[in-house]
Structures are given as C-alpha cells and as structure tokens.
Amino acid sequence: MLTIHHMTKHFEGAPQPALDAIEAELHPGRITGLVGPDGAGKTTLMRIMAGLMVPSDGTVTYDALDVARDTQALHAVLGYMPQRFGLYEDLSVIENLRLYADLRNIRGAQRSRTFERLLAFTGLAPFQKRLARQLSGGMKQKLGLACALLKKPRLLLLDEPSVGVDPISRRELWRMVREMLDDDTTIVWSTAYLDEAEQCDDVLLLSEGRLLFGGQPAALTARMDGRVFQLLGVPEANRRQILTGALERPEIRDGVIQGAALRLVLTADLAQPPPESLGGGTGTRMVPVPPRFEDAFIDLLGGGPGGDSPLAREMPVRPDSDRPVVEARHLTKRFGAFTAVSDNSFAIRRGEIFGLLGPNGAGKSTTFKMMCGLLKPTAGESFVAGLHLARSAAQARARLGYMAQKFSLYGDLTVRQNLFFFSGAYGLQGKIQEKAVAAMVDVFDLHPFLAGSAAGLPLGYKQRLALACAVVHQPDVLFLDEPTSGVDPITRREFWNHINGLVGKGVTVLVTTHFMDEAEYCDRIGLIYRGRKIAEGSPDHLKADARTPARPDPTLEDAFIALIEQSEDREAVLT
C-alpha cells in the first residue's frame, strides 16, 4: 500500500505550494487515477512517488519503504513511465527493451521470455528493428509501457500515458494495463482527460495543488444524480445563444453544447426551470442523463463561469455570405516518401465551427499550416475569405487570427508588449492599435498582469492572452490549434463562451483537436486519421453512424473508433 501523509511540496520562489497537505492511500490491485488539469500537481506527485523528488513536508511510504530515503529499494520494484515515455529515439524497439532489461538486471531465459511476452502483448513484435523515432504516438506509448513492465513492477507509475494518442491506442493501453493488474500491483495513472477518471478504480482529483476528492469516481458522480439533463429539440441555428442565456440563470450550474443538444447541470436545491423558459420554444424538452465525472468536478469548483462573452460584444457583425469563407480543395502534402496529408477537402460557411479531429501525427497541423499559407501544398489549393493562400498569403493572413498550439507567446515580453507586438504584426497602428489593445485588456481582465512577463502567467491567463493576441485585429476567420487541451474545465468553458459569442457575430472558426469534448462544440467535424479524412459530418451525425444494437448511445470516441475500423477494413479490401 502506498500511503501519502500530510505531504506538501513547495518549490523555491513559487507563491503557493505545488502540492498542499495531500492525504491519500493507494491500494494494490487497483488502478488509481491521478486526475486534474495541467499545473494541478500531477507530475510532481508522480515524481515524489517515484522517489525522484523529495516532499517539503509529510511522508510518502510504500509498504515499509520511505520513498524519499529508500530510493534504491524502491527502484527495484518500481515501473515508471515518464511523460514522453523515456524512450531513446535513436534506438530501435528491441534495443530500447534490451537497454532497460540490462539496467534492471533481467537475463537468461527470463529475459527472452519477457521480451517475447511484452512484444506480443504490445503488438510490437513485427516492428522490433524499427527506430523509436519512427514509431507512431500509439506505438511509442506501448513501447514505453513495455519498458516500464520489464521487471514485473509492484508499483507502476504512468505519467499521462494517453496524452495525444489515437483513441484506439488509448483503449488498447487501458486493456493492457487492466490485464497486468493483480492483487500485488499498485498502479497509478495520471491524466488531464476527465473522461478517463471514470475508468479508474479510485481517483485522486487535484486542482491547484489541492486534493479535491479521493475515492471511487462513482461516489463523486453520484452526488450529481438527478441534476444533469439534456435539452433536446433546440433549434440548431441558435443553440449557442440559448446556452449563453441558460448559463446566466441561477438554476443552471453548468452547461455545454453536445452536438445539436445542450447538456445542462442544475444547481443543487433549486427548482428545475421549465424547458420552454430557456428560449428554445415549445418543442424543447429536458431528458435526465447520467452524470459525468466532469460535472462533479465543476460542481466542486463552484460551478461554471456563466455564459457571457465580453469579447463578442466588442466584435462587429460580419457581413453575410453564401460562399464558403474557408475552403480546402484536394490538399496534399508529401515530405519525401511520406504523405502527411492526402487529398483533404472541406468548406466552412460563415459563422460555422469546423473541427479537424484526430490523434497526434494524423496530419492536422500540416493541414492547418497549409490553410494559413505557412506551408506550400504538394497539390491542391486553399482559400480564406475568397483569397488564394498560395497567391495572396499576406492579404489572406491579415483576415485571419491564429492561435498556435501551447499558446506561442513571447515569454520574455510583458503581457502589454505581446499585445502590441501581435496587433502590430497584424497591421494595427497608432490610435486604432491602442484602442484595440485596451479593449482586449478589459475583455480578458489582463490589467493586473500587464507589466509582468507572459511566461509568468498562470496557464488560464496564458490562454486568454493567446486568444486576445489572435483576435485583437477583429479577424473574419479564427484558426485554433488545440486551444484548450490540458486547461481546467472552467477556463475551457470561458474560452468556448468567447468562441460561441464570436460565431454568433459571424466569425468563422477552424479548430484542430484530439480532444473529444472539444469536438462536441463544432458544427461539423472532419475525422483525420493517417493523413486522410475518413469521415465528415456533425457530431450527432457521426455518432448516429456508429450506432449499433450493442451500443445504442455511442460517444464521439466510439464513433471515431468505429470509423477508423471501417476505413481500415475498406483499405484491407482494396489492397
């Protein structure tokens, strides 16, 4: 048993502790999920449990071992998979395995048996000679797991093993970890995906270094029973406005768009509002649905942020247009023999949110770069606001706002300097620029941070600043690259409030994401897998396609997996 007792970790110079008086017990024979947004303290806690960091206060013990002092003995029974899997990219699959086997002193007959078992287990047997850097994200993840499993660990720590990998690999990884769990093994799995929490036996929910909840996930979601509803029959065109209105009501604690429907969480002890009062007309009805882990998390944090977007108020309404605002025609990009994007076409109307959904390495970012004119397509064309990207890239780019992955801001510049730099780069100057920047500062509440460096901002504010820099010139089109992956659900809701508001003013949005929840906000989705678009349609439409008698109510992830399998079957038939 792993016992964490009154454990605090304080980093020098940090205003508040990374982990604050954590109290928990992790039991063998169970998978404990370490759940929370980026910056919650998950990795720090992992490293402390692995004996790689020492707590400032309190103790962590594994059976009789003090993990901070008996590191050598701990490492003999520990399997640890750090973020990015700890693989040597220049080494092949089998060379990586051999290295870690030697480091853990596994030899003789046991060694070859272990290799055989793990290669079969992970499905990597045909790829033994392949260099780790040439593996897909899912395969890397499996190899990383295999390296951690070499000497059957009694304590297995997996730090965000599923981030960014495709949903099929993610499912296989869960199956594999489940399979190796026995009564002696304690497994910890950290994740920023709240939906993964429901698959864990126990959960430690972290937020800003504090433990919000410890126990079985069902015990937490059970608190929400009877408070979660789907609002059906909403007119599709103004479901965003209806959500915005609903979120402003005291009876509604939280709400998100879920395809054509709204998902609403009611405030405890307040009466359920009549569905027609929410502005969707008489055809709307409220159907109770089972609560999710995320509902409970938001409730613990004190509810969602409301529905208002001051940003949308600042934006002028875009003129109507029948022609698509963003269009890709047969985009193809090859790097040498490798085809990153193959024949991708889509068209986005004014005021529509279009999502490119797919795992890391599927070709989303490459498509994105071609749409911005940053990368020249090998074949095909792209248009933004009627402008041809290859011929008038500069003019087209002036019409679009771009928010890059991980919020590429200038960390050494202050918040104010970042705003002035980006607005200047988009061609604003003089009084107009000053006015635009001042408006962004008001809208995003950046006043207290203006003179501080962007690198020092809390994650949520970094994201706000990145959005501010992308919309300061009031673009017609907004390109968002993984805009909310890893941020806490409250910040994510604030972000989508802004996007919903902008779309209401006629701004056109293209989003890439590997995050299923994010995809639900889109009007239409293109599923990207291995460089090809394997399906396109509204989230509801894609889910309906994956409906089977065995699975009457599939999630978007179910739909994605079903579509990948279908496309692979088709490929198998063709070849």
Binding site: R47, A50, G51, L52, M53, V54, D63, A64, L65, T71, Q72, A73, H75, A76, V77, L78, Y80, M81, P82, Q83, R84, F85, G86, L87, Y88, E89, D90, L91, E95, R98, L99, Y100, A101, D102, L103, R104, N105, R107, L131, C147, R154
Partner: protein, 382 residues
C-alpha cells in the same frame, strides 16, 4: 518489504555495458557526433595548418638609394637577396612614402647621400634610416629585426672583402634546436592539435547529458537502479574512444599531409592524449550536467574550451611574457600542458622529465572535473 533486497552493486557491469552499448549506438546514428569528432577537427586543422603562420616571409620593403656608390648598391642588393624581403629600389624617398602609408610597403630603408663617405671617414659611423609602419607592431618589429640582421651580414661581408687576412674577432654561429628551419608550422600544428582536442572533447560530452534531460530520458534512467557513477562512466567510455580516434586521425593528417616531424614514441602520444582528453571530456560533462540544456551547453563549451586553450595555452602567445596573475591562471588551463607536451613530443622526442609532471597535473584537473560532475549528477530531479 517482501521483495528480496538486491545489493546495489549487483549487475553493475551489466548496467555499464548496457549504457555503453546504448551510447555507442546513439553516436553511430547521430550525425552530429560524427561531425564534431571528425569533420570539425579536419576543418580546424586545415585552418590552423594553412591559415595561421607566425613566419614573415617576403615582406615588401622599399630601399631608397640616395647614395649610388658600389657599397650602397651592394647593400641594396643584400636586401633584395634575402628571402625575408621582397625589396624594390628607388632613388627618391617620396616615391615610396605613399606606398608605405597605404600599406603596399611594410618598411623603407634609406641609404643616405653621405653613406659611403661616413663609412670610410674616421670618427664617424655610417647611418641607414629605417621607416616602418608602427600601427602594425608585430610586422614593424620583424622588419626592424630582419633589416638589422641583413645590415650586419652585409658588414661582415664587406669587412672580409676589404682585408682577407683580418677575420672578424668573433662570429655568432646560431643553431636552432628542434626546428632548424624555424618553420613556425612545425610548432603550430602540434599546438593546434591541442586546441582542436580541447574544443571537440568538450563539445562531444557537453551535448550528451543535456540531451538526456531535454528528451526526458534522464527521468526514466533515474527511476532505474543506476547510480550517478554508472551514468558518468557509461557515458565517458564511448566518448573517450571517439575522442582518441579523432586524435589519431588528426595526428595522421599532421604527419602525412603537413609533414610535421614526429620524434617521440606512439606510446607517449597515446598516454599524453588520453590524459588531456579526460580533462576535456570532464569539462564537457560538467557543463552539460549543470546546464541541462543543449544550446546553452554548446555555447558554454565553445567559449570555455576554445578561448582559454587558444589564448592562455602558450600556443600563440608566450606565457612567459604575460603578467603574473595571468601566468598563474594559465596553470589551471589543461591545454597549456598539452601544448607543451605535444610540441615536445613532435619536435624533440620523449622527454619524460617534462611529461611526467604535466601528466600528473592533467590527471589532477580531470579528477577535480569528474568529482564535480559526480557531485552535480543528481539521483533525483531536483
């Protein structure tokens, strides 16, 4: 705890071997190590071999013949004959002054009108004027020295012509040990081997530990039973072999391509190079371990390896002529000992009386660097 406790040293050789194999595979598959170990040294050797020379040959000199006697002409002919000068004559100093100012000439020798008269008149000394460009101090000194030498040679010649019987009372018979041709390349190329090894030895290792941190693999290594000592040794061995191979290639180029004489023994060369390489690798490891960042490490390695080795090793600038404080500073620059050892080895031979103390100091410096590296190699992430 139920699991059997394994002593920490169990499987140490196996772990070390695994690390060495891994590191070697990375070296072979990573073009940057090959570039640093073999391409960079050859480029540097080429630059040092052809680009740096301390010899002044064919310095452009003007000779003004205001006196046209046979004696004055013979003196002018002497200036034209010596290989140190590329001399041309003129009758008027004004025609040459412009060339001196524009650096087309490095100096002007003026043989004045009264030269021959003063030469033969009792109680007077004949004077020859030398004008040089003082803004190029080094060249001006060469011109002055070589001009004085040429003048002295001419005077000896004149004296023997005039009285066959009266030989000069004493003649200076110079002999230059070890480098009779006084070809500066013979001492520069062995010295530059030291500079090159200082750069590449440091650069090779500066990147490797930082790379582990950047790619997140250090975290995985630290969670295995590896100790800090094993990590350091596992990395040292492959890069030591690589560095020695690189040294062998450079020595071969110096010997066969530049024709630098090699008067010592191969065994001495190996021992001397090995001792120095340890200090360079140790310096790189320390930088890498402290910075944990490849870019920073490569910058720090270049600056901290190249500059002291180039300036403070006695490779170009005489240590004896440095101020006391700087002289003391040179004592902790490993390249200083390597430059001396290599120059001796190439030009003089095995002089163990010199090598031994130098080797001791090199090993001591390497010991300090590795001790610091070990101390800074964490067994944790903080």
């Amino acid at each position: 705890m139920k699991a059997p406790m394994t002593p920490p040293h169990a499987g140490r050789m196996r772990r070390l071997k695994a690390l060495i194999v891994k590191e070697s595979l990375q070296v072979v598959r990573d073009p940057s190590s090959i570039l640093i170990a073999f391409v960079l040294p050859l480029i540097l050797l080429f630059l040092f071999g052809y680009g740096v020379s301390l010899d002044a040959r064919q310095i452009r000199l003007g000779v003004v013949l205001e006196d046209s006697s046979p004696e004055a002409r013979r003196l002018a002919a002497s200036f034209q004959a010596t290989p140190f000068f590329d001399a041309r004559t003129a009758l008027d100093r004004h025609t040459l002054e412009a060339d001196l100012i524009s650096s087309r000439l490095r100096g002007i020798v003026v043989i004045p009108q009264d030269f021959t008269r003063s030469l033969y008149a009792p109680e007077t000394t004949a004077q020859v004027q030398l004008i040089t460009d003082g803004s190029e101090t080094n060249t001006a000194n060469y011109v002055a020295n070589y001009a004085a030498g040429t003048l002295a040679a001419w005077m000896t010649q004149e004296a023997s012509m005039r009285s066959r019987s009266a030989e000069p009372a004493a003649v200076l018979a110079p002999r230059f040990f070890y480098n009779p041709e006084r070809d500066s390349r013979n001492s520069l190329v062995p010295g530059s081997l030291a500079i090159i090894m200082a750069i590449i030895g440091t650069l090779l290792t500066a990147l490797v530990v930082a790379r582990e941190w950047e790619r997140g693999t250090m975290e995985a290594l630290l969670a295995t039973p590896l100790s800090a000592l094993e990590i350091v040794i596992g990395k040292l061995v492959p890069y030591f072999v690589l560095g020695m191979t690189s040294m062998a290639v450079c020595t071969a180029v110096a010997f066969f391509l530049y024709g630098i004489p090699f008067r010592g023994s191969l065994a001495a060369l190996i021992v001397i190079s090995a001792a120095f390489l340890l200090t360079a690798l140790g310096q790189g490891f320390l930088i890498s371990t402290v910075t944990r960042n490849q870019f920073l490490a490569s910058q720090a390695a270049l600056v901290s390896a190249f500059l002291p080795a180039f300036i403070l090793s006695g490779f170009i600038f005489e240590i004896a002529s440095m101020p006391w404080l700087i002289r003391m500073l040179t004592r902790i620059i490993p390249a200083r000992y390597f430059v001396t050892n290599l120059q001796t080895l190439f030009l003089a031979g095995d002089i163990w009386a010199l090598f031994k103390p130098n080797l001791m100091i090199l090993l001591a410096i390497a010991g300090v660097l590795f001790a610091l590296t070990l101390k800074k190699t964490p067994s944790r992430l903080e």
